[in-house]
């Protein structure tokens, strides 16, 4: 790892020609420690999570980057690119053994959701249903992440965008919305500090394995008189983070193309083509849909098939007759059958809004899936409450609760895996985060929050009985304050 090289790049205060990072332009580099992070981050962006499909482009950027850090990434890309079709499944970057069962899993596109599913992903041959209550649309984000993750895997597998044979993953989207493919998020390219830290540590962990020699060398800057002691401190800290990440991620390096981070404000470039995504209209007779899906799977031998049913039964896409169980349940049953038939290379993701389903239909749909998570977005006043509490840490404001109703493999074995209100989710620009839910402590404001009645929403400079008086008008539908919450959740 050459400090001097980094320095050169950074002195330009912009990304180097081959490594244009669209999320960075215009951003000023605030401190002295940051540039080095930036430098570390950038090769990484172009390395393992490389989206650019053309190999030559990659080579070009390597040339520009030069140095050892670039060459560390190269072998991996080439390896996947060269994988022959029959071997794709065993070398598939998006498939890894589940640490908790004798199955192989693939990432859902959200590493936190992977974690919640306990298998670090969705086991092959299994299906997941994401339910959502209310009018929010978090489920569609998860659906897009699920597809985008597949596309990224496919491109890592050397898809050249034109030939049908190359690549390792194919997505089947059952939707009328052909724009779906163009709305997929791009891989997150970094811009915020914490992400950079993450990437630094990723980068270093790679280097530590692949370029042991390099790593053992004391970075040149330690020897350099001009470098302040701060740098060394910073490096040590990085090492700590690094170690932490290593232990968290386990065999991180072996599967570092397994799961990617996506920036939902960006778009995947280039947009996926029809060699990567097939669309099947939900407006056809059930047997036609099923045979089309079956046909597509047959035409994509050796590839991982990700079947996605975004917004199942959305009234804009599905005619009223699809709500009959003989249509909706038959479709789900048929897809389950196909999934189990190809259980070595097929997964299903479906999302649905529970508001449009009656109990009969909802339970029936749930019955057919192997895994179910239910998103329960917080009501408005709960959000306001959280925002108030986490005034100083806005990225801690969670958007709702995530209930687990079924876990793949374990639930069908008879284990009781219902986890209600144990998790909370937060949809950020760069990540769909899922954390353990805990009732926030209103320590900042407990003393001076207000007597305010519901009329004056956010303002507060009163005394502490807010918790109750404020609730009264809304408490039926919502759970806005902590005493209330602790009882309900």
């Amino acid at each position: 790892m050459s400090f001097r090289k980094r320095g050169e790049i950074l002195n330009g205060a912009r990304a180097p020609p081959g490594a244009v990072s669209r999320s960075i332009p215009g951003r000023t580099i605030p401190g002295r420690t940051i540039p080095s992070r930036d430098a570390n981050a950038m090769p990484n962006v172009r390395g393992p999570s490389q989206v650019t499909p053309s190999l030559s482009g990659r080579m070009a950027s390597m040339n520009i980057r030069g140095g050892s850090s670039a060459s560390t990434n190269a072998p991996q890309g080439i390896e996947h690119g060269a994988g022959d079709v029959s071997n794709v499944m065993s070398n598939h970057p998006g498939i890894r053994p589940s640490p908790v069962s004798a199955t192989f899993a693939t990432s859902t596109g959200s590493s936190d959701l992977d974690k919640v599913l306990t298998h670090i992903g969705l086991p092959l041959g299994n299906s997941i249903l994401v339910e959502e209550q209310g009018t929010t649309e978090f489920n569609s984000i998860l659906a897009k992440l699920f597809v985008a993750q597949g596309i990224v895997h496919n491109r890592l597998g050397g898809s050249s965008n034109t030939s049908k044979e190359s690549g390792n993953t194919h997505a089947i989207v059952i939707s009328l919305n052909q724009m779906f493919g163009k709305e997929l998020p791009g891989v997150y390219k970094g811009s915020r500090k914490d992400v950079k830290k993450q990437q630094i540590s990723d980068e270093q962990s790679k280097i530590s394995v692949q370029n042991l020699m390099e790593q053992k060398n004391t970075p040149q800057r330690y020897k350099d008189f001009k470098i302040a002691w701060k740098y060394k401190l910073a490096d040590e800290q990085k090492e700590k983070i690094d170690a932490k990440n290593m232990s968290q991620k386990g065999d991180n390096d072996e599967y570092n193309d397994y799961s990617h981070q996506f920036d939902i404000t960006s778009r995947m470039m280039p947009a996926p083509t029809n060699t990567e995504i097939s669309f099947v209209s939900p407006n056809l007779p059930v047997t036609t849909i099923l045979s089309q899906v079956e046909q597509i799977i047959k035409n994509q031998p050796g590839k991982l098939i990700r079947i996605v049913i975004p917004s199942f039964l959305h009234p804009a896409m599905y005619p009223p007759s699809s709500f009959r169980t003989s249509s909706s349940i038959a479709l789900m049953h048929g897809l389950r059958s196909i999934n189990k038939l190809h259980d070595d290379r097929c997964v299903i993701f479906a999302s649905v809004s529970t508001d449009i389903l009656n109990k009969l239909l909802r339970i029936q749909i749930q019955n057919i899936f192997d895994a179910i998570v239910n998103l329960e977005p917080f009501p408005q006043d709960m959000l306001q409450f959280l925002e108030r509490i986490y005034k100083s840490q806005p990225n801690k404001v969670q958007h709702g609760l995530l209930h687990v109703l079924k876990l793949p493999v374990f639930s069908e074995r008879g284990e009781m895996q219902v986890k209600k209100s144990e998790w909370a989710f937060r949809n950020g620009r760069k990540k769909f985060e899922i954390d353990e839910w805990s009732i926030p402590v209103d320590d900042v404001e407990s003393g001076d929050s207000s007597n305010k009645q519901n009329s004056d929403g956010a303002s507060s400079k009163h005394t502490h009985d807010d918790g109750h008086n404020h609730d009264k008008p809304t408490s039926d539908a919502t759970a806005p304050k902590n005493t209330k919450i602790s009882l309900e959740y």
Binding site: P285, V286, T287, L290, S291, E294, R324, T325, S326, I329, A330, L331, H333, G334, R336, S337, K340, L341, D343, N358, K359, L360, I363, Q364, Q366, N367, I368, I372, L405, K406, S411, E412, R413, G414, E415, M416, Q417, V418, K419, K420
Partner: protein, 271 residues
């Protein structure tokens, strides 16, 4: 903390799960297993199959000594058929393999794979008739069928009575013991989420009720009302069904067990 004492599964007054008298008689009996998606019945169903094949639910009772009770000659003689609308062939095959049950001792009828494609557009009567043809009549056999109620959803316009008359009753006649496993998720959480009176809801209610009226034993698996616990998966309630085991000297012993399923094994114990 010591684990509570392991209990044996018994359903009848002669301490058995499947009394000889019942299996050797010429009646047509029915057991019902009701469960929810939080407490799925695989372990209980495989234990029942195991009992039929090996003479006792060895996987549950965990006492190897009982092995001597069942002569090996008992095996194979009485066929067991497992049919599921929800799980593929290999699912049961793997589960039974783990109990070291010889794959020749049972037959799996996979009613999941390709069902919709095979049956799409056919009249209901034809579909039910074709389904029945997959089961060979044998007055000594046991048939286990998982979630036949799915047919109410899959076949347009099928009613509970039709399903009973044209599928389950003839199926009962084809065997000595029919074990039906049904999901009762639809009827849970009534307080917060009552079932409407739609046609589908009525048919499902009628169907499950009729199953209870026609069974001699009802085994209900449910999770604890207090939610998830590390040391308890749920409770297994054994209750009498609507029919008494006519012509048998044994009767059903009502019981409530707690059970813990983890690492692919289950143990029963008392509260």
């Amino acid at each position: 903390m010591s684990l509570p004492q392991r209990q044996d599964l018994t359903l009848f007054s002669d301490q058995s799960v499947l009394p000889r008298e019942l299996l050797n008689g010429d009646g047509h009996h029915m057991f019902l297993v009701t469960s929810t998606m939080a407490t799925q019945p695989l372990w209980l169903l495989t234990a029942l199959i195991e009992t039929k094949i090996k003479g006792a639910p060895l996987s549950l009772n965990g006492s190897a000594a009982r092995r001597s009770e069942n002569p090996a000659t008992q095996e194979m003689k009485t066929p067991v058929v497992v049919a599921s609308f929800l799980h593929e062939h290999s699912f049961y095959h793997q589960a039974l393999q783990k109990l070291r049950i010889n794959a020749n001792a049972y037959k799996v009828v996979d009613l999941l794979t390709g069902f919709v494609q095979k049956c799409g557009g056919k009249p209901r009567d034809v579909v039910l008739k074709e389904l029945l043809e997959q089961f060979t009549p044998d007055s000594q056999s046991t048939i286990l069928i998982e979630q036949p109620e799915l047919l109410l959803s899959l076949l347009d316009g099928l009613t509970s009575d039709e399903l009973n008359q044209k599928f389950l009753q003839p199926l009962r006649k084809k065997c000595n013991l029919l074990i039906v496993s049904s999901s009762i998720d639809l009827f849970q959480d009534n307080e917060n989420d009552p079932l409407d009176g739609s046609r589908g809801a009525v048919e499902y209610t009628r169907f499950i009720s009729s199953l209870i009226y026609t069974s001699i034993v009802v085994m209900n698996l449910r999770s604890l009302e207090t939610g998830r616990a590390k040391d308890v998966t749920g409770s297994l309630m054994i209750s009498r069904g609507g029919q008494a085991p006519a012509g048998l000297s044994v009767h059903v012993v009502e019981n409530e067990y707690l059970y813990l399923t983890e690492k692919e094994s289950t143990r029963l114990f008392y509260r």
